[in-house]
Structure formats: C-alpha cells, structure tokens
Symmetry: C2
Subunit: 159 residues, 2 copies
C-alpha cells in the first residue's frame, strides 16, 4: 500500500512544513506516503491567457510523467466532486478492497490543472468551494487522508 | 472595524499557533482581529447522547455570553452555506457597506454547535463538506478572511 502526493511548487512556510512532517508521521502507522514536489513554472507578470495556457500544459506534462501507470489517480480540483470525510474514506477503502494498492494525489499550482492531467484522474476531488493556497491544500489533504485511515481502521482520531 | 473569532478550546500544536500568528499579522494591515478561546468542556468517555446534549448546551451558553450585542455573527457549521472565496468576500463587503463594523465568527468544539448559538447567527458558513479539526478550521478561516480582505481591497494575495 502506497500513496504519493505530487505537488506543484515547494512549501515556503516553516509551520506548514512542520505540519506536513507531523501528518506524515501519524500516517506512517497505516501507509507509506511520499510527497513529490515538481518545480513551479514562473509566470511572467503580464502573461497573456494564451501564454498561461501553454505554461499550464507544460506543467501538466511534467505531472503526467510522474504519475505511475497502474496507480489510482485523484486530482484536487475546486470544481471536482465534494465528499464528506466518511464518503472519502469509503471511496479509498472500496478501491483497496478491490485490490488497488497505489494511490496518487495531484495538487496543481497557481494556474490550476491542465485538462490532460484531469483526464488521467479516476477522481476529481474538491476539498471546498473556497480557494485554498496550495500550501494549505497539502496540509488539509494529508489530514483528510489520515482521518480516512482512522475511519477505515476504526481507530480513534488523534487530534 | 473589528473581527472576533470565538473558538472552543486551545490550539495544541505549535505549528498551528505559528500559522495563526502569521495570519493575524497579515490581517492587521486591514482589520483588528481578536481570537477569544473558551474552555473546552471535557466529555466523559462513556457520555450518553443526553449527557452530550447537556454539555453542548452549556458550551453554547458560554459562547452566547461572549457574543456582543450588535455584532454580525457567523457560525461555522459543516451543514451551513457553502460559498466560494469571492462570494464570501462579497458577503463581508456588503455588510461593511451597509454600516456593519463588527463581525464575530464562532468555531465550536468536538460536540458541534448548540442550536441556540446557531439561532444567534446571521450566517451559518460551511468551509467544506469534509470535517476538519477545530485547530485546522481556525487556520483555514483566518486564511479565508485574509483572502477576502485582499479581494475587497483589490490587493495581490500574498502567499
């Protein structure tokens, strides 16, 4: 059982990095989680929509190259499917029961996620209607994965 | 212009406390934000539903006593209204334009929020269908308030 989280860009704030370490430690009781950071493409200040679209596609190609062949791919997308924490844990559990042992989550950059990456996804998942920073999205996702594994394993959630 | 955030319980993790300080610092450019923590009522391990309901009402009374008379009150509730970040900023801005200068946000404890507190609210706001920890809710809310003020003041969002 393995989970990869592929993220565009690095975590800048120390407190977010500390939070990530904490959740990775807690998750290690259940599953191996690896975070893979790709370099954020710098967007020129006055980039046109067309230029942004080209950059987004380039970023998408980098992401697609990192997604392994047989993994179950969940792309975070504000327009994706909303789930509550129990439904999310069920979705993961059903996949595991059906024999899936590798999951890959994708968190895009400030330009969003290219259509090609969305097409690769088995699930487009929305954490909220609200827009979160990519840094915060990473923490929220890790916490939800941890929560899901607590639910699946019938463990008390450790706050 | 003043914002109060009344929260049940204290932040335990240092990295969350650091994140709160950072957002309070950023928000100070726009508005005075004060965080008021109330003591979390300890719930006996084998509390019945009835006992929990009594505790929740007690907790609610403590919260109600802290909400000032003329403030516009927003209670965070997973079953509340979902808004995107732009709608949230518009809701705040419309209130301010109509002369409201005091907002109070309420984040409940692990038992939820009593009906009496919900009845006091001008808005029941859901950050997500997913359940977040109360600690994380505080950070997400602060970030959304900061984002809202950036949108209202037409400022570039400082990641």
């Amino acid at each position: 059982m393995k989970i990869e989280i592929i993220c565009v860009g690095k975590l800048k704030e120390t407190f977010y990095r500390t939070a990530v370490s904490e959740y990775l430690k807690r998750l290690s009781a259940f599953v191996k989680v690896e975070i893979i950071e790709t370099m954020e493409i710098s967007i020129p200040d006055k980039a046109s929509d067309k230029e942004c679209a080209i950059l987004l596609n380039k970023e998408g190609d980098v992401l697609l190259n990192k997604i392994k062949k047989d993994t179950w791919c969940i792309v975070l997308d504000v327009k994706g499917k909303s789930m509550d924490s129990v439904d999310f844990s069920r979705a993961l559990n059903e996949c595991m029961i059906s024999g899936q042992s590798h999951f890959t989550f994708i968190i895009g950059g400030s330009l969003g996620i290219s259509q090609a990456v969305k097409n690769r996804a088995q699930l487009l998942l929305s954490l909220s209607d609200m827009t979160f920073t990519h840094q915060m999205t990473r923490i929220i996702l890790l916490e939800q994965i941890y929560r899901a594994f607590c639910i699946i394993n019938n463990r008390t959630y450790h706050k």
